[in-house]
Structures are given as C-alpha cells and as structure tokens.
Assembly symmetry: C2
Homo-oligomer: 352 residues x 2
Amino acid sequence: ARRHRIAVIPGDGIGKETVPEGLRVLDAAARRFGFELDLAHYDWSCETYAQTGRMMPEDGLDRLRESDSIFLGAVGWPGVPDHVSLWGLLIPIRRVFDQYVNLRPCRLLPGARTPLADRTPAEIDFYVVRENTEGEYSSSGGRMFAGTEREFVTQDAVFTRVGVDRVLKYAFDLAMTRPRKKLTSATKSNGITFTMPYWDERFAEMAKRYPEVKTDQFHIDILCAHFVQHPDWFDVVVGSNLFGDILSDLGPAVAGSIGIAPSANINPEKKHPSMFEPVHGSAPDIAGKWICNPIGQIWSGAMMLEHLGEKDAADAILKAIEDLLAEGGPRTRDMGGNAGTVDVGKALAEAV
Amino acid sequence: ARRHRIAVIPGDGIGKETVPEGLRVLDAAARRFGFELDLAHYDWSCETYAQTGRMMPEDGLDRLRESDSIFLGAVGWPGVPDHVSLWGLLIPIRRVFDQYVNLRPCRLLPGARTPLADRTPAEIDFYVVRENTEGEYSSSGGRMFAGTEREFVTQDAVFTRVGVDRVLKYAFDLAMTRPRKKLTSATKSNGITFTMPYWDERFAEMAKRYPEVKTDQFHIDILCAHFVQHPDWFDVVVGSNLFGDILSDLGPAVAGSIGIAPSANINPEKKHPSMFEPVHGSAPDIAGKWICNPIGQIWSGAMMLEHLGEKDAADAILKAIEDLLAEGGPRTRDMGGNAGTVDVGKALAEAV
Ligand SMILES: CC(C)[C@H](C(=O)O)[C@@H](O)C(=O)O
Ligand SMILES: CC(C)[C@H](C(=O)O)[C@@H](O)C(=O)O
C-alpha cells in the first residue's frame, strides 16, 4: 500500500482538540482509499517552551525533515510573546523547508453563513496564493537613536527575482487548472514605489508564458474593497507575504468561513515537507472546553492528502464537509449548533 | 466676515465634474453661515503634464502655501504613470505640507446600501486615522543585480518616533471627543518584527497619557476580517500609512460608501494648508458624462469647513447629505437613481 509519513504537531490551545479529529478523519480516508499513514507525534508548544526554554528541541527541524508532510494545529499562547512562539516554531518551518507558497481556499460552503447579503456558494470560490518566505516579513532592519527624539526603526521589504518568480509561476499554474483561468495580482505600486513595481514587472513577464490565463491587477486598498463588494470577480489571487496574509483572512471572512478555513504551506518541488494548518489560532478563550470547530483542521487534512497525491480521498473529505453543512449535520456553537468538537469529527469520519 | 483662502484643484477626470458641485455647496454654506471663501483655481492635471512635462509648475507648492486649505478633485489618468501623476502632485502636497494625518470617516448613511446583511447606520460609524508621510511609503530602497537571477529589490519601511507619536496623539485626541472613547491600533508585530513592535511600543506609551480612552489592537489580517464581521466594534482606528490606506478603503466598502467617502489630509498644527479630497479616483470610464456622484467631494468640503472652524456649516452640509439619502432625493446611477452630477449638487446646495 502507499505510505505517507506525517509529522503531527497539535501545538497550543484548541490545536490539541482539533488535531485528534483531523487524524480521525484522515484515518477513515486511509482505510477507505487504501493507503497508510505513518504518524510521528510531537508535543512542541508553548508548554514545551515553559519547560525547556525552546518551542522545539534543537534537532526539531531535522526530525520533521524525515516526514512527507506536517500536520499542525495552532501555535501561540498568552504569556509567550509571538516572537518566541511563532518565530520559534511556525516561521522556521515555513522558511527552512522553503514552503514558499501559502495556499488558502476561500469558499462559501452551502449552509455556511456569510456576513454579506445575497451571496450564493457559486459566487464565492477562489484561492489566495501567498508568497511565504520573503517580502515584508524580513529579518533586515533595526533601530537607531534609541530612546531619543531622533529615534527611528526600519524594516526592509525584500523581493528577489527567484522568490517572486516561483510563487507567480505556481499561481499561473494553478489558474490553468481552473475553469475560468483567471489570475489577479495584488499590488500597491502607486504608493510603494520600489518593490511593488518590481512585482508588477515580474507578473507581466510571467504572464507572457501563460497566454491562456486572463490577468488583472488591483492595488491592495481597492482590492480589499472588491473582496467585499465583488467576491464573484475572483478565481486565483496572488500576493506578497503581507498582502497575501491580509487577503487570506479577508477572503474567508467574506465567505463566512474564517473559523473553518484551511491553509497549506507548500514546497511545490517536494524537496522538503509541506505543512497543513487551519487559519484559526489557538483560541485561548474556548480552549479546554471541547466546543471548538474541527472543520478547519479536517479541511487542512484534505489539502494535505491532495498534496500527497490522494486526490480521491481529499475530495471525499471535502464532500463530507459540504454535506454536513448543507444537510444540517452536527454543528459547533460558532455555526449556531451545540455539538462538541468530537461529534463533528466523528460525523465526518463516518461520512468518509 | 471670516475669510478662508481655498486653493481649488479639480485635477483629472470626474474631478472636473465633482469640484464645481463641491464649490456650489460650499458657497451656499458660506452665504448661510456668514463667512467668505477666497478661491484660487489651479488647473493642474495630467493635461498640464502632457503640455508642460510637469503636473504642476515649479512654484506650484509655493502658490498653494498661501491658502488655508486645498480642495482637490482627483489625480490620475490612463497613459500617465502613477509615479508621474501622483508623485508629481498628490504625494508632494501631502509631504511638503506635512499633512501627517489622513482622516477618513466610515459611516453607513441612512438610505445607503451596504454589501453586508442586516447592518443599521448606528452600527457602522467610525473613523480611520492614517499616518500620511512615512512608514511603508518610503523613498529609501533600490535594486541590485538587475537583470540576473540574483536580482532583488528592497524598500525600507521607516517609522520615526516623531512621525509615530504625532499621529497616535491625534488619534487619541480624536477618540477623546467621541462618546465611546475607543481607539483600535492596527499592527502586524507577529510577522513584521522590527517596525510593528515599535508601533505597538509607542502606542502603549501614548495610551498612558489617555487613561480614559479604551484601547485594543489587532493584527491587520484579522482586523480586516473584523471590519467585515464586526464593523460595530470600531470607533477610531489608527494605522500606519499602508495599513491606514487599506482600512480606509475597506471601511467605506463595508459601509457601502466607497463612491461617496471623503478624506482629509491634515496638518493639525495648521502650520501648512490641509487638503480635502474624495476617496474615489478620476474614474475614466464615466468621466465626461456628468453622471458621477458628487457626494464624496461635497462631504470632503464639509470636512474642510470643520477644519477651518466652521463647524455649524459642516454639520449643515452633512445633514443635507443624510436627508437627501434618507428621503429619496436625487441620486446618481451608482446609488440606483438616474440624476446627473449637477442635480445632486443643486439639491444639496438648496438644502444647505
Ligand atoms: C493614489 C494612492 C497613492 C493613494 C495612497 O495610497 O495614498 C490613494 O490610494 C489614497 O488612499 O489616497
Ligand atoms: C501568526 C502569523 C505570523 C501568521 C502570518 O502572518 O504569517 C498568521 O497570520 C498566518 O497567516 O499564518
């Protein structure tokens, strides 16, 4: 049978509750579609940090390197600053494994509630492709004249040809697989006049290689407005690290799916493991109550299976989620029901 | 009588249609409230650029310097690149006159249509305060290894203590004038780890001076999501140049007012003239047809009068806009009517 090695990191807060349900559904899919999952469990989290002073052991990345994919819950907990928790676990995984594509579907699922008036599922169905290793998230910068009136801080946004071209290529390739074949680029070249015109230049260059793809571009300010006013305009949207971050929260918000949206951190060449995690965080306010919604985790599992070549299994999970929402299956509180985390996981595992 | 010197720059496209209506209403307000407006007209635009190679004459800024305020239509036209049109007129005015606050109200007006379901006017009524001179819109950066595989481009975001503190102070002062006294800061200190933690640090420092103001902060990604999901949470929102730019398009989009939203570029100390302009652009697709909506321009005029100390006149204009929308007065096409630009201007001038 086909075997896939999965590193499992529940992380913090509700990650500990959603990951078991994600695994439950993955396991059901493995049995039905005839593949095997080798799981390696890692309890790295803010608790690990409290005990050891590190979010993961020194050889943490080496251990992960042996897996085909990483299945992550959530990272972060009150009391541990983000630069420790995120920059000690999430960000190094993205960077060291060169997961240069962050892919997030934005879909209005049947039966889900969008804050927008009068929108149907067919009208909100697009992907955000985010650059995930460079751009505005840079480690170059600093502070001068600290503590005086002249104090200033800088941070360099860095856009490399290699970094920009490869994520654009991924986005064009993805657009080619979609019926509408449309790609929108997020820019701000009218205000940010070095890096963004460069992004536009590379986008125009790459577009020449894909004559079948219909392209357009908007400045990020009006693009955000269009997400709210015209979500039906979009098919695939590509943006820098920061712009992609913004759009991939706004898109799910518009689709009413921010609590259940999945995300994939992909190394498309499969030289390194890719990582799959829900968009939501560790949710300290509801953690420990087993009332959180596991759908984001389970949907992330479907994206993982698709990446591993198990397309039929991925489709089956997605269909189970759609059916559950459309047919009034068990729902957690955030979706107006009163089911527990485990109820939803079990219902989906059974459906698969 | 009180006299105010106004420099008038219609600029490009529909700016030439909205500015006359803005002036019509300002004139009505002046007569009713007993002040005088000295107008100086400047036809600087992309046409000027075509004729002279410059967006404005060399002594353009000096001429503007003599006015109390600048009343601007729109800048930009197809065929003239943004770095010429915007950086030859709009951006230098903002910077040279140290208009370090960009203030934009986000209000759901009675009778206006929001894309959100079930929102009432009382629920969407907040201000975005945007830093307008530094931050991500920087002139520091460049390109290296051009034309090779090693090519990269950088742009430094620059946050100075002076620049950050003064816009934060403005935002806290504004929050103090509002019944809810609430201020939200836009950050991204979990990803942009030099400049954004500095912004947070200065925000926390300034907050100590305003114990009555309730503060919170969100990362820009989830903040954009909250604008869509919970616009009622916000009272005053402060952000950097880029974040403020994004939020002040998203806010009006959520309120259904992007076609009519005003903006003020303010030098709070009144050492230099401030500038008032609608959020919309020059709209080449409908320019020349006299069907565009002048409300953004007229509302910008109201903000200008408030800045000039004519609060009663400003309130009268705003009330006229509210009444026109609520009572089904003449509407342009974008609001579902078939009135012309001039019809709306005349109706508002009469109401004032
Ligand atoms: C035209 C552009 C440079 C400008 C900006 O980003 O400042 C515009 O979007 C605005 O918000 O006034
Ligand atoms: C937690 C944070 C650093 C992260 C990011 O901005 O990349 C998150 O918002 C995300 O989108 O995965």
